[in-house]
Symmetry: C2
Subunit: 150 residues, 2 copies
């Protein structure tokens, strides 16, 4: 098994074709990690996601430093992991952010694989209860293992 | 889709039949999350794992507070997540910890699915370069989504 470091471009490719990751945040030295679905936007570049206001949103509002981990596992000898080190930024429910909010919401609707929770089915009048946020990407790292036949 | 909170016993069952999780640690407010393989020991209770000395070991030696996330996903409507909030404890390479270290090492050898990295294949004289550690479990939480047929 050989392990390669990925280039930034290779990391970006993985993010673009993935939608499930694990988001870690921290408060007072205590980390917290949960699965999230996201939509990668190469324009930002950033990861967009939404959530009801719960522990992770409260923690990220207090400390915006986060880490997102994404995996592609074929088997024990062939896998890729990408880490995003970034910052939590909330897309406000304001006229200024309305266009961004609408565009992000539409990108979420296009993803059939949402599973946590069924918030995409909320009627539009309840959307204001959802927080839409961006993980601004400060740094990307990735590793890929390939099986070496002898 | 209905979401249930899991009891501690149900969380423990998930840990006992799983070996892949994501470990989050933090330094100076910056979280870091990576996949790990672990072996659950109900005696402790704790999660046992090993690693070469890299970023996560350096960080956990400095701040032992960690969070481990484990998933079982059937599909978008049927999934279970378990979170372990705990503390990093190193199993020392000392006569005092020799028996624990040997027992843990043997439990690792029984797992065919190790994939990150191929450290289980290290010859015995190189095992001292590996850190064996326990995540002492302070608190367990879990949620399970089940699909509700109408």
């Amino acid at each position: 098994m050989l392990i390669h470091e990925l280039t930034t471009a290779q990391c970006t490719e993985v993010l673009a074709r993935t939608s499930l990751g694990r988001l870690a945040c921290a408060r007072a030295g205590q980390p917290y990690v949960v699965p999230i679905h996201f939509s990668f936007d190469s324009e930002g570049p950033g990861l967009y996601a939404f959530s009801t206001v719960g522990q992770k949103i409260v923690w990220m509002r207090e400390n915006p430093k986060v880490c997102v981990e994404v995996e592609e596992i074929s088997d024990k000898n062939r896998w890729t992991t990408v880490l995003v080190f970034g910052r939590y930024e909330e897309i406000q429910d304001s006229p200024h952010d309305a266009a961004t909010r609408q565009r992000v919401w539409e990108s979420f609707q296009q993803r059939p694989e949402w599973w946590l929770p069924a918030a995409a089915k909320l009627p539009s009048q309840e959307r204001h209860a959802m927080v839409i946020f961006r993980i601004h990407i400060d740094r990307l790292t990735g590793r890929r293992a390939v099986h070496e036949r002898i």
